[in-house]
């Protein structure tokens, strides 16, 4: 079996296995899987409104997935996407609320603020990795919690209106919301962000595959020592990749801050977008196109699942179980590959 085919088959098998185990769990708990999946389908595609919501949902997923994938390609595991996402969200809203500017300046400024905030948040683990060889996984996890508490503090004490727990809506001039897209989808919360997300997919592909800098970044990801001997500056590339990764994550935050919600609120815990980004990147094999498709799948699952308790009486947490199982099976792809190879060898005989 060709390597290419195995690479495409592995994630598909992982998804199928995830759904299979999810089905078994439903059967074991006395639910009707068929009804649950039909409810999920209806919840994602049953109405133009739901389709709008699915697109709205997977917009930040694409960007969070890109953020994780980009760092992965350079050999870094950015678990801190969640934190970068939160600071991006807060920064975007801050700019969106605080300034009075014409739209042509205000909106890009708010988006840029989110990207810079995310990039700076990722810069710290990048710098520590490059300078002190500190493992980025632990630092980014710690940065997540710092982000959560610091942004909560800022929202509560600086941004919130009159001792509330959330900010005002961002000014019209900084909003990504679109009457047009909303009216097309029966007034879902769909916004312009999806276009930015698609552009970012293209940017990631172009940057990594078509530029010298991208070649260097990938080289560092494949083998740091070889890259070093070839005269590439490994440390600079590590920091750069974290900056770009963080900028993607911050942009994902702007999608929520300027698009979906239009405000920032004090959070009791993580949003989960950053962690789903890990799942999305893994399933998409860390490529721009793969991330795009797996983000769509996750968007469908997430939005569709909300209909499961209503129509089939199945708790929507089931989808979270399936997502976790998919991550689990993608991570264990070694064993799937072993099976695939055995299978294809038998076929040859």
């Amino acid at each position: 079996m060709s390597k290419r085919l195995t690479n495409i088959l592995t994630p598909i098998i992982a998804v199928l296995l995830g759904i299979l185990v999810g089905t078994i769990i439903m059967l074991a708990s006395g639910y009707d899987p068929a009804a649950a999946y039909i409810a999920l389908w209806n919840g994602a595609f049953g109405d133009i409104y739901y389709i709008g919501e699915v697109i709205r949902q997977f917009t930040p997923y694409i960007l969070a997935g890109l953020a994780v994938a980009f760092a992965f390609r350079v050999g870094l595991f950015n678990i801190g996407v969640e934190g970068q996402f939160i600071v991006g969200w807060t920064a975007a809203v801050w700019v969106g609320v605080a300034f009075e500017l014409p739209r042509i300046i205000h909106l890009p400024l708010a988006i840029l603020a989110a990207m810079i905030a995310g990039a700076l948040w990722a810069y710290i683990p990048g710098l520590l990795k490059a300078r002190f060889r500190v493992h980025e996984v632990i630092v980014t996890i710690m940065m997540n919690y710092i982000a959560l508490h610091v942004t909560n503090y800022i929202i509560r004490n600086v941004l919130a209106s009159k001792s509330g727990d959330k900010t005002d809506l961002v000014k019209e001039t900084a909003s990504l919301r679109s009457e047009l897209l909303q009216s097309m989808t029966d007034y879902s919360r769909l916004h312009w962000g999806i276009i930015l997300a698609i552009i970012c997919c293209f940017i990631m592909w172009f940057l990594l595959e078509k530029t010298t800098r991208g070649f260097e970044l990938r080289a560092v990801g494949f083998n740091q020592h070889a890259a070093q001997y070839a005269g590439m500056n490994v440390n600079r590339n590590i920091i750069l990749s974290m900056l770009i990764s963080g900028a993607f994550a911050g942009l994902a935050g702007a999608m929520e801050g300027l698009g979906t919600f239009g405000y920032a609120a004090v959070k009791g815990g993580f949003t989960g977008v950053g962690f789903e980004g890990i799942a999305i990147a893994l399933l998409g094999a860390n490529t721009a196109l793969g991330v795009f498709f797996s983000a769509i799948l996750f968007g469908i699952l997430k939005v569709g699942s909300l209909n499961m308790p209503l129509e089939a009486g199945v708790p929507n947490e089931l989808v979270n179980i399936i997502i976790a199982l998919i991550v689990f099976f993608v991570a264990s792809s070694y064993i799937i590959r072993v099976f695939l190879e055995r299978f294809s060898k038998k076929g040859v005989k």
Partner: protein, 319 residues
Amino acid sequence: MSLMDILMIVVPSTLLWAAPLVFTALGGIFSERSGVVNIGLEGLMVIGAFSAIVFNLTFADTFGEATPWIAVLFAMVTGALFSVLHAVASITFRADHTVSGVAINLLATGLTLFLVKLIYDKGETGIISQPFSKIDIPVLKDIPFIGKILFQNTYWTSFVAIIAAVIVWYIIYKTPFGLRLRSVGEHPMAADTMGINVTKMRYLGVIISGAFGGIGGAVYAQAITSNFSHATISGQGFMALAAMIFGKWHPLGALGAGLFFGFAQSISIIGSSLPFLKEIPSVYLLIAPYVLTILALTGFIGRADAPKAVGTHYIKGTR
């Protein structure tokens, strides 16, 4: 408010918040010392908290006063069983340890909330009737000064955690099992050459960490929150991970770090009632454990070095 009064509030509260962190961090040490990164501690605590609460709600009438302790044992077993998933993925299936850990965390929250809805038909469980209750430790409570601060109005679990840390230190540094566990995490090939079964040791390391994670979650849920919902375990597992690193992968270090992080957590909650701490915004206390961990890793507070082979797979026959 005199210093004595302040200490009488702060010390028991610190011990209360530290206990789950210490247990879980000790678990993390077993796993990482054997060479398997365990980001899944958070998920293991979730499983532990869930099992303990469900057990407690179901059997409170049967076991009476002993319920929380038996629930802890039950959570220990479920935690250990759940961690087998992590072991299989990261040891046998050669999954990236961190990714597998992330999957464990996602799975634990998904599964437990699913089960809560299945069993109780609502988003969270009821309040347990037999939580760990405040006690005065007999005899020790009568020691002048210290007795009042340390041994009155406190919880048994905190002292069990401290004793556990000492036992774990003994196991890891003074027994053949501990030596083997450490050797597998430092240099698996050398260990293998000496006839140590690397796979077995790593499985044991992960499963023991699951057991401790389960205890940690059970203690947290039954001493602090008293019910189980999506927000019961919110970052304690990662804080335990931080305590393990800040304690430099050493059981007594983890104990110290756990106590300190417990102090930071409790202060951020009760601080508003204490005179001099009122002035400090609680955000500094909330982020202190995480900032300190980053500083420790960076080497500003004495360098923390992970076991050499942590995060790698041992494949027989490769060099």
